[in-house]
């Protein structure tokens, strides 16, 4: 997994320590602590994982193992408008892959990455429970149903105009 380098501020390290403490620094709470950490930072850079490992007394390798296992966790900052394309069974059979390809083509970034201007990022997810609207795309908290390849540019336009 690619990652970016950064130096955490002392206040950020302190914030992480408090999160770990609120879970009693228990190794079994690793996933919960990572969830909170991702809420705070938007993503989980290596430096954050190192602090979490130290606070919960687990190896950094193990933390990285968990971060890379669950698709919810990301080591790259998400765009201001994170695009999630559902590739669950229902969406998939109704053309989710073509929709996904169209996003990739227009934004020129692969799945899991963010455009250079930091605006959009693309990820896949599995089923949001709206199979009747398949294929489904989410941008931030907003859901779009029955998306077609032609509809992709209209969705993007909405957010380009927003800025």
């Amino acid at each position: 997994m690619t990652s970016i380098k950064l130096k955490l501020k002392e206040s950020e390290v302190q914030q992480l320590r408090e999160v770990a403490k609120s879970f009693n620094n228990a190794p079994g709470e690793l996933i919960n602590v990572l969830h909170r950490a991702q809420e705070i930072f938007g993503y989980l850079p290596a430096e954050v994982q190192e602090v979490v490992a130290q606070e919960l007394n687990v190896s950094v390798a193990k933390v990285y193992g968990v971060v890379t296992f669950y698709s919810f966790f990301t080591m790259l900052p998400r765009g201001r408008y994170p695009i999630s394309v559902c590739t669950g069974t229902a969406c998939y059979v109704r053309g989710a892959e073509k929709v996904l390809d169209e996003f990739k083509r227009i934004l020129k970034v692969p799945v899991g990455e963010t455009t250079a201007d930091g605006k959009f990022s693309i990820t896949c997810l599995r089923c949001v429970g709206a199979c009747g609207l398949a294929p489904v795309v989410m941008v931030g908290d907003k859901t779009y149903g029955r998306v077609t390849t032609d509809g992709v540019k209209d969705i993007l336009k909405e957010y380009e105009e927003a800025e």
Binding site: M1, A46, V58, S59, V60, A61, Y64, T68
Partner: protein, 588 residues
């Protein structure tokens, strides 16, 4: 007790027993691949991941992994029904479908659990074609990772995390992308790896192997301009024979010397000589610290920890850097040997150090790293040029057309081949400290030991302690093998809970006899114990059994070093440690 039926035979087992162990009682050998059980060493790994050990349990819909399924009263098990045999073969075919077929040129060929299983199952084709894993290979100074050959048995993770508590390896990513790797998929060289090599020792395939120095050695041996010097570690002689179908625990000291001479070494010496030298330096350091402590010096650092094991040295440099002033400053025997060979001995044979090649044969892979440490070189010329493992030596002997079993027994060359029984036992857990006690007692009290064998220091438990009476003063001794056990002792010291005066630590299970460079034990801990016995046998048979009585060592001090811990001895035989926690591991 629980009664069950396996292959139509009844067996009674204790509650909690797995099908695998119950079957063993009936001499039914259910095949396993990921499973590993190192008995007395208290390491059991049963992830139930590979599914090779599946069996049929009456009334259960799916097949059960025998290694991880507990027996119940009235259980009826079939271990070789047609359904089981087919499933097992399919499982293996699927594993093989994502494995490179380069067995002919693989370092593990002939010694590979996966290959053995394919033979056993009679696999003749791979019906599944598709994508294969491709992962960048990782070349560190000691260990090579080729994850394309990994079958995700995860034995290495158990050794690295549970036994050694080093925590470098973890399963990362998921599905087809899953791989065992260090954090952020860095190279081992950019991780906190101690190079103990226990991952290599248990890897069933060629995914984890040691760096191979045999090609370089063959080239150097063929160069007439080079004076070739070899040293052999104590534990090698107790294991090398296994590579030539001898019983585990066979001692092959004389044959090993003969083989090395025939390979073309000019001087066949013994690391045991340097082990005796280590005792002189480390023992003197211990006595010095003890005397100062007893005189009321509050600044003196006790307990003193041994420093022979390079995996252990790496461990405290990474994990306990703030305690790096506690271990003895004495270099390891390998490095003491190199330092003396390229100074004292180089003068004797009128040879420049640049024209000498000092090679070590070690039961270890961390030794490969140790000889690359900058502080062990002079103007860029290393004291020990490189180290080969017991396995590499066995391979070289085979390649050189020698019938090892029929080689004569020969003696080491002099002066650096002279050694005592105290040096031999460096090869097993408890040995270094016993050797130190033998000499320290006599030097301190001026009396001769009535009994040389300190049985209370021997054994195979992970952490042991004993007291030795130094003429009225009780010396408390701790022993740990396995870095997880070492960690416990270190945490006690840190918390002020420790009343030890001296502690011996070895990274590998059983000490060097169970080292990462030894012939593979394939999960059989009895082999490690047999080697340990052989080491004590070799000690018992030695005419001199105390390091300070080694005549070559006495002469070395008289002619060259002066006395233990002299300025010259400090310069050549002692070292200092680093805080590796601060090393910027992100430099990749």
């Amino acid at each position: 007790m629980i009664k069950l039926t396996i292959d139509n035979r009844t067996v009674e087992v204790e509650k909690g027993t797995t099908i695998y162990h119950a079957a063993k009682k009936l001499d039914i050998d259910i095949p396993t691949l990921c499973y590993m059980n190192l008995g007395d060493l208290k390491i059991e790994h049963k992830p139930g991941g590979c599914r090779v050990c599946v069996v049929e349990v009456e009334g259960r819909r799916n097949l059960a992994p025998a290694c991880a399924t507990e027996c119940f009263e009235g259980m009826v098990v079939q271990t070789h029904s047609i359904r089981v045999l087919n499933a097992r073969k399919t499982v293996l075919e699927l594993i093989l479908s994502d494995h490179p077929f380069d067995c002919l040129i693989c370092a593990k060929s002939g010694n590979c659990d996966l290959q053995d299983m394919a033979i056993k199952m009679g696999v003749r084709s791979i019906p599944y074609q598709g994508e294969k894993s491709t992962y960048k290979p990782d070349f560190s100074p000691a260990i090579i990772r080729d994850m394309d050959k990994c079958i995700m048995c995860r034995r290495c993770e158990t050794m690295c995390n549970d036994f050694q508590t080093v925590g470098v390896l973890s399963g990362v990513n998921r599905g087809f992308e899953a791989v065992v790797a260090p954090a952020f998929e860095r190279d081992l060289d950019h991780s906190e790896c101690t190079y103990c090599g226990q991952c290599v020792a248990v890897c069933p395939t060629g995914a984890l192997t040691e760096v191979d120095h045999t090609t370089q050695l063959i080239r150097d041996l063929a160069d007439p301009a080079k004076k070739m010097v070899v040293q052999t570690a104590p534990a090698v002689r107790a294991a090398l024979g296994e590579a030539f179908e001898m019983e585990p625990g066979s001692l092959v000291t004389g044959k090993m010397v003969a083989a090395l001479r025939r390979l073309g070494f000019d001087y066949v010496f013994d690391t045991d000589f340097a082990a005796d030298l280590t005792i002189m330096e480390e023992g003197t350091e211990l006595l010095d610290r003890l005397t100062r402590f007893l005189d009321g010096d509050k600044k003196v650092k006790l307990p003193m920890l041994t420093s022979c094991c390079p995996g252990w040295v790496n461990f405290f440099e990474y994990h306990f850097p703030d305690m790096r002033d506690i271990p003895s400053t004495a270099r390891s025997p390998q490095q003491m040997f190199g330092s003396i060979a390229k100074s004292y001995f180089a003068d004797q044979i009128n040879t420049k150090r640049e024209d000498m090649v000092v090679v070590s044969v070690m039961p270890c892979v961390a030794k490969k790293y140790e000889c690359t440490r900058e502080e062990f070189s002079v103007n860029g010329n290393p004291d020990v040029d490189y180290s080969i493992s017991t396995r590499e030596l066995a391979m070289l002997i085979k390649r050189s057309n020698m019938d090892f079993n029929r080689l004569p027994e020969e003696d080491f060359d002099q002066p650096m081949g002279e050694s005592t029984g105290a040096a031999v036992i460096f090869g097993t857990t408890g040995g270094v400290i016993e050797a130190a006690v033998r000499s320290a007692y006599e030097i301190h009290t001026g009396k001769t030991l009535k009994k040389i064998d300190f049985e209370q220091l021997r054994g195979i438990d992970g952490i042991r302690s004993a007291s030795v009476d130094f003429d009225g003063i009780e010396i408390n001794i701790g022993i740990a093998h396995g870095l997880g056990h070492a960690r416990k002792l270190l945490e006690d010291i840190k918390a002020g809970r420790s009343d030890y005066h001296a502690i011996e630590i070895m990274a590998c299970p059983g000490g060097c006899v169970g080292g990462g460079g030894q012939p593979l034990h394939h999960g059989n801990p009895a082999i490690i114990k047999a080697r340990q016995k052989a080491i004590y046998r070799e000690d018992a048979g030695k005419p001199i059994r105390k390091s300070h009585e080694n005549p070559a060592i006495i002469k070395l001090y008289e002619d060259f070093l002066g006395k233990p811990m002299s300025e010259k001895a400090h310069h050549l035989l002692h070292t200092h440690y680093f805080d590796k926690k601060q090393k910027d591991v992100l430099l990749d």
